[in-house]
Structures are given as structure tokens and as C-alpha cells.
């Protein structure tokens, strides 16, 4: 996207074409003071007041949490907004800033953040810093040893008893003080905040809901897994009403930069390049930390045979899916639009209303309905035609099925758009060609079709880009399947995007870094394809005009 010297950029703009630029603005400034309308002024006051109100509302929690950077950001943004809308300069910015603020906060920033993780090993087991990993290893290795202190335990939560995050309320048998503990550590509660039954068990605490026995035993797995780090080791539950403070068997040794197991004497040395602790025999501890891995995520796509083989197949199918979806809907939509585009045709309005009904149906629900229509045992398709095909069980039938669903969902839109474009083509053109002796087919091929393509090509490109990443179309129907027996991560109808989703959030351990690398691949592919085709449509000059 280089700047062509002849392009109609900002610099070579003829002064006459400048509509509401800054120069006339200054000349008019004096007079504008007089003509500023009351409604305009009122709107300005109200909106800026709203901005100030929101800023003040947002500032309190920031101050309370001592997030000074966030507060500075907030103050700067608010001040910037006030300056922008009170000055008479920077007119374009007045129109661009509202949308841009949201764009930067909720799209550009997350995207850049994601892109930056492509160069790290961020994922399950590699989430935090090295210090976090050491704490996690130490607390996970806590064992009850002779002489461990025992506490009376009450399980409570701040939220719903069935789903809320769990905390431990523990009573020190020696002093009788009650503390509350979660994965972040232990905090002492005042005696007036809690009610303690004889025997040390807490029966009520301010701000917490105590789980009864039934509720607690339903979540016993979570309770067993909850480890509260303390100064000497960590607190763990032993049953539902006792907790012990155990000592960590594994500890970090700064001297050798390794983890040492005090029972077995084994050591795991820190490996800064992979962000994990590795023993001499290659055994790796599950808890690692996040490190930069350079381009390794990218080269892995090409060099790891388990990934590169299926990846190429997925890429090809992804192109086929996007082209098939776009092309299929375009052809069918145009055909129907052409059929209805005739002065002799009656009932076009009725046809139109019926044809675009699929467009009005909620697509997520219809995708799920289609999935069930392809059901092997009692799906409509098999029932209607007396078949017993396992549509989503075989590669090619599954692919054909998702393309058919796409056709159904997408062609009403193409039909609408093609109808509009056909109506915009002057009738004189086709009439002239038929006077010249062209057959209807000839005049369609050499007059109507090229004009239609010129009009619709930007839409076709964006439809391609959309379908290239059409997550719902696959995830809500085949979920990427059928999967080959030897590779449960990459199915026959998987698009790159569903494949990436499975990598990032799938069952077998999240690999955010690798997933981010693949999303950069996807981004590059779509951007290049779109850029090239936009260039080829020769509409660019007009688009930039």
C-alpha cells in the first residue's frame, strides 16, 4: 500500500476542492462567534458534562485501587476531549475521535496485545512470571508433615454457593483468630466480623456465604485443589472441616537457579529459553513462565510435521470454502435477481419478500437447525430422501453440507444487492445491444455481467474476507469434524480460524502464543488477498476520491 505519487492524497489537493477545511474556518472565526446556535451550544454543554461525569465516576475506583497510570490516562483523555471540543481548530478530529477512542481501546489494543503474544510461549503452564511459577510449584508440593499446624476449616464464597469463587475461613486453634484465605494468600478478619461456634468452626462471616455440608461436598474437588499460600508453606484442606498448614517439599534455590526436591534430592534447572524447569533427564515441570521465543511459533507451523501437513490441507480447504461460499451465493443470487429483473415479470414483490426471509432469520439459530437437519438418524434431509447418510461423518459430504448451508444463508443478501445493481444499469445499454442484434445471452455476457461485476466486486471481496474467517458457519455446524483418527486437533471442515480457536481454548491445554502466530498468518493472507483484488478492480481511484 505505498503512496503513489499521482494518488489523490492530501498534499496535491487543489485549493478549490477544499470543502470545510481549516483555512476558511479561521477567516470565519469572528463571525461564527455570533452565529453559534443555541442548540449547538446546549448539546456541547450536555455532552461535555456527560464526559466529565463519566470521568469522575470512573476516577474513584482508580484512586481506591491506586492505579495511577490508569488515572493519568483517564485524566489525559478527558482533558483532550475538552480541549478538542472547546477549540475551533482540529475540525476533522472532532468527527473522528469518538469512534477512534472505542476502536483503540477495544480493538487496536487487544489486537496488538495478541500479536505481541505470538512471539512468546504464553499459554497453559506459561502464564505469569518466573516468580509466579516458583510460588505455584512450591504451593503445589505442600505436604502434611508431622507437626503441621491444624485448623478448623469453613468453606465459604463471596458469590453464589454453587459457582462463586471459594475461600477458606480458618480458625487458629491456639489464638482463636479467624483468617480468610484464597489463592492469593491469607488475611486476618476482625473478631466482630465473624461468628465462631465452639470448636472453632465459623458459622457466619460478614460479606461471605458459608457453604453448608451438601454444597461443600458438591464442590469437594475444587476444595481439595484450593491451596492458600502462607509464609511457611501453604494451607490445604483435609476433608471438609479441617485444614493443615503443610510445608513445601520443593523449593527454589537461587544458587543453582533450580528447583530442588528436599525428599528425593532431584533438581530441575531453569531454562530461560523455554520458560520452564527441566531435570537432567529432560523431565519438565508443568508450571513454567512466559518468555519470548522469537519466531519459533512461526517456524513451528512449517517445520513440525504434525502441524505442517494438516495445516496445508486446512489452508486449501479454507480458500475453497471462502471462494465456494462467495461464488455460490453470488451465482445463485445473481441468477434469481436476473430472473426477476424483467418488466414482464409479475409477482416480483411477493417473490422478493419470500426470497429474503432466510436473511431475516437469526443465522446462529438457523446454523444449529441445519446441523440437526443433517442428523443421520432423524434429520430432515435423510428423512425426505429416504437416505441414511452420515453427513458430518465423511470428509466430502461434510464439506458439501457446510457449503450448502452457506449458500442458503448467504444468497438472499447477494440477491438483494444484485437486484439493486441491476436496477442501476441503464436499460438503454441492453436495449442498444439487442438492437445491434445481440442475443440475450450475448448482451448479458458482454454488457450486463461486466457492469454487475464492477458494481459488486468490492462486496465480493469483503464477502470473501468475511467467509475466510467465518467462525460460526463451522463451529455451530460440524465443529470442524470429521477428525482423522490420528489427529484430533484438525478436522476436515476446519477453517484456520476454528483450528486456531481449538488451539487457543481447546481441551488439551491452551497455546495462546501459537494461536496468535496463526492468527497473524490468517491476517496476512486475508490482507494480501484483499489488497491485491482491490487493486485489480480499478475502483481504487474512486474509492479514494
Amino acid at each position: 500500500m505505498s503512496t503513489s505519487p499521482s494518488g489523490p492524497g492530501p498534499a496535491p489537493q487543489a485549493p478549490g476542492r477544499e470543502p470545510v477545511g481549516s483555512r476558511p474556518e479561521k477567516r470565519r472565526a469572528a463571525r461564527d462567534h455570533a452565529t453559534t446556535t443555541m442548540t449547538g451550544l446546549a448539546a456541547k454543554v450536555v455532552l461535555l458534562g456527560l464526559v466529565a461525569g463519566i470521568a469522575i465516576w470512573a476516577a474513584f475506583p482508580l484512586v481506591e485501587a491506586e492505579k495511577w497510570v490508569g488515572l493519568a490516562l483517564l485524566a489525559a483523555t478527558t482533558a483532550g476531549l475538552f480541549y478538542l471540543y472547546l477549540t475551533r481548530r482540529h475540525v476533522p478530529a472532532k468527527y473522528l475521535v469518538p469512534g477512534t477512542l472505542f476502536l483503540v481501546a477495544f480493538q487496536v489494543f487487544p489486537v496488538l496485545y495478541t500479536a505481541s503474544t505470538a512471539f512468546t510461549n504464553f499459554g497453559d503452564g506459561h502464564r505469569g512470571s518466573k516468580q509466579d511459577a516458583i510460588v505455584a510449584i512450591q504451593t503445589a508440593s505442600v505436604k502434611q508433615v508431622p507437626g503441621s499446624a491444624e485448623y478448623a476449616l469453613t468453606v465459604a464464597t463471596k458469590g453464589d454457593p454453587a459457582t462463586g469463587p471459594l475461600v477458606f475461613l480458618v480458625t487458629d486453634p491456639a489464638t482463636g483468630t479467624v483468617s480468610v484465605g484464597d489463592a492469593d494468600g491469607l488475611r486476618r478478619l476482625g473478631p466482630d466480623e465473624v461468628t465462631v461456634a465452639p470448636g472453632g468452626k465459623v458459622t457466619a462471616a460478614d460479606g461471605f456465604t458459608v457453604l453448608n455440608f451438601g454444597q461443600a461436598s458438591a464442590r469437594s474437588q475444587e476444595i481439595t485443589e484450593l491451596v492458600v499460600p502462607t509464609a511457611g508453606g501453604a494451607l490445604r484442606s483435609s476433608g471438609l472441616s479441617r485444614a493443615y498448614e503443610g510445608t513445601a517439599v520443593r523449593a527454589y534455590d537461587a544458587g543453582c537457579d533450580c528447583i530442588r526436591d528436599s525428599e528425593t534430592g532431584r533438581t530441575w534447572a531453569a531454562d530461560e529459553s523455554t520458560g520452564s524447569f527441566v531435570a537432567a533427564d529432560g523431565e519438565r515441570l508443568a508450571q513454567g513462565w512466559k518468555v519470548g521465543v522469537g519466531l519459533r511459533n512461526f517456524t513451528r507451523v512449517l517445520t513440525d510435521e504434525n502441524i505442517s501437513g494438516p495445516f496445508l490441507g486446512t489452508l486449501i480447504w479454507n480458500f475453497a470454502f471462502a471462494i465456494g461460499s462467495t461464488g455460490g451465493t453470488f451465482i445463485l443470487g445473481t441468477l434469481v435477481a436476473l430472473a426477476l429483473h424483467s418488466p414482464r415479470m409479475r409477482g416480483t414483490n411477493l417473490y422478493r419478500v419470500l426470497l429474503i426471509l432466510p436473511y431475516a432469520m437469526p443465522s446462529f439459530a438457523m446454523l444449529l437447525i441445519w446441523r440437526d437437519m443433517f442428523n443421520t438418524d432423524f434429520g430432515l434431509i435423510n428423512n425426505l430422501f429416504g437416505l441414511s447418510v452420515n453427513w458430518f461423518g465423511q470428509e466430502w459430504s461434510a464439506r458439501a453440507a457446510v457449503l450448502l448451508v452457506q449458500l442458503w444463508l448467504g444468497y438472499p443478501y447477494m440477491f438483494l444487492v444484485a437486484t439493486g445493481a441491476l436496477q442501476a444499469i441503464p436499460r438503454e445499454l441492453t436495449e442498444a445491444s439487442s438492437v445491434d442484434g445481440a442475443s440475450p445471452w450475448q448482451s448479458f455476457r458482454s454488457v450486463t455481467m461486466p457492469l454487475l461485476l464492477i458494481a459488486l466486486s468490492p462486496l465480493l471481496i469483503s464477502s470473501f474476507a468475511y467467509n475466510f474467517n467465518n467462525f460460526n458457519a463451522i463451529y455451530l455446524t460440524t465443529e470442524g469434524g470429521p477428525f482423522p483418527a490420528d489427529n484430533p486437533t484438525n478436522g476436515a471442515t476446519d477453517l484456520l480460524i476454528t483450528y486456531t480457536y481449538r488451539l487457543a481454548f481447546g481441551g488439551q491445554g491452551a497455546e495462546f502464543g501459537f494461536a496468535a502466530a496463526i492468527s497473524l498468518f490468517i491476517f496476512t493472507i486475508v490482507a494480501v488477498v484483499s489488497a491485491v483484488s482491490f487493486r485489480r478492480t480499478r475502483k481504487q481511484e474512486e474509492v479514494y476520491a
Partner: protein, 307 residues
Amino acid sequence: MTALTGSPVTDAGSPPVGRRPAPRGNRWFARVGWRHLVAVLAVLFSLFPIAFVLSAALNPLGTLSSTELVPTEGVSFGNVSELFARTEFARWFVNSLLIAGLASLASIALSALAAYAFSRMRFRGRRVGLLSLLLIQMFPQFLAIVAIFLIFTTVTDLWPAIGFNTPWGLFLLYMGGALGVNTWLMKGFFDTLPRELDESATMDGATHAQIFFRIMLPLVAPILAVTGLLAFIGTINEFLMANVFLTDTDSKTLAVGMYGLLQGDERNNNFGIFAVATLLTAIPTVLVFQFLQRYIVSGLTAGAVKG
């Protein structure tokens, strides 16, 4: 001027005398009949899944396995009452309407403002801005969901009112995508309005804001309608972000809530109420569509023609 030298007799209005008797029906077919054939086939293709949904909604058993294309076992409205009794459908419906309505209105407003600036003003960074809008769209936004999740975890801690499980948080998130394609579509439409309009208004002393609100906005109503409709449909159907964002039953949108109906063991049994929910979900879209209909075709076309 070469038109007269062609073979004028065969094609044009007056048919040749010699061949009249035989193909009368054929000629009708060649001119109009095939159009009806194509249209009828297309309508059948369009309608049969909808007929299936309708049949499932009226099916008294309410299961997938007992649903046929045409209801054979009688008709009942039991699924409707069951839907409202067993699920929080009404709540989901209100949530979805609220979020989709607000988000589409706000996103029209934001992108109309930006499109006006891009179309009518010349400033540094204009070309770069337009291109980057296009590029950002091409990054699969939901892959940023990890980052979004982390951001909103902090937000939920600080301001629970706009955090997870609130419509406002989701609304803010959707606003991030408000610029982008819409801005391009609208800019194309703004470009088609003659510049003389705002130039003469400037001469008459109108401010840029007056030109935008009083002159431009009424003229671009068709494209506002279209982008509004597209945004509405897009938001109603948005599943992925909402699924991460809304986990409380009360705060779910239609897409998230209804997806849950067809999960797990209840998939076969819930099919009837799911079908009812699908039909009810289509109502707002159809209404918006009908309401904006006179603008739709012209708006879509203009957007299409200009990119």
C-alpha cells in the same frame, strides 16, 4: 449508427410471420416462464428450512426425532408456553434487543461522524486512516479474546457496572468495531452527494456541524438505514464474544441462551422450544426490515457501487 445494418427481424418486437404456430408456449417459457421457474425453485429452497422450523415449533412432542417437514401429529402451541416456563427466554430477548438496538444506533452515529470527516475534509493521515480501518477489520478480532478477557477482568474489578455479565460491557466491546466497514460504506455514499451542496451552505454561513446535521444526515438516510440493519442483525447473531462475556443466566443474550438449549442431553427434547425461540427471534429483524424497507435496496446498491 451500425444498428440498421444488423439482422433486425429475428429478435425485436415484431415476430416473424412464418414461425408463429408451433412454439407459442415455448416462447412464453423463454421470455417469462423460466423466470417463474427459477423464482419458484429459489423460493422453495429458501422456505423449506423455515417450514421445518415452523413444523418443529408446532410439534406437540417437541423433539427433533418426531419432527417432519409438515406437521403430521397435530398442531399445538405447547412449545411456546414451555419455552417461557422453562427458560429465561423473555429476559434474553430483552437483553438482546437492548444491546442490539443501542449498539446499532451508536455505531451508526460513530461511523457517520467519521465518514463525514473522511469524505468531506482533507487532513493529514486521512489516507492512512482509511487504510488502517480496512486492515484492522481483517484481523480476526475474536482471537484477541484472551486480551479482551484480561482487560475486562480488570474492568470488572474496578467498575462492576461495565464488567462481565453486564450489557454495558458488551456494548462497549461492540463499539470497538463500530468504525470499519460501516465507515467505508457510508463514506462511499457521502461521496456521491454533490459538493456544491455543502459549499453553498458554507457560503451562507453554516458551520460544519450544521452542514452535517441539517444537510448531510437527511440525505444519507438510506445508507444509515442499511448500516443500521446490518449492525442490528450482526449484533443479534453475535455469539462468540457474548458467550465469553455473559455467563449468568439473567444476563445472557438470545444467541448465548439458545445455544445452551441445544447442548448436551437435552438436545433432542429441546428442539421444539428452540424452534419457537428461533421464530420469535426473527420477529425484531423482520420488523426492522419492514420498517426500513424503502431504503434498503437503494442503500445497499449505493454502498455496493461505491465500495
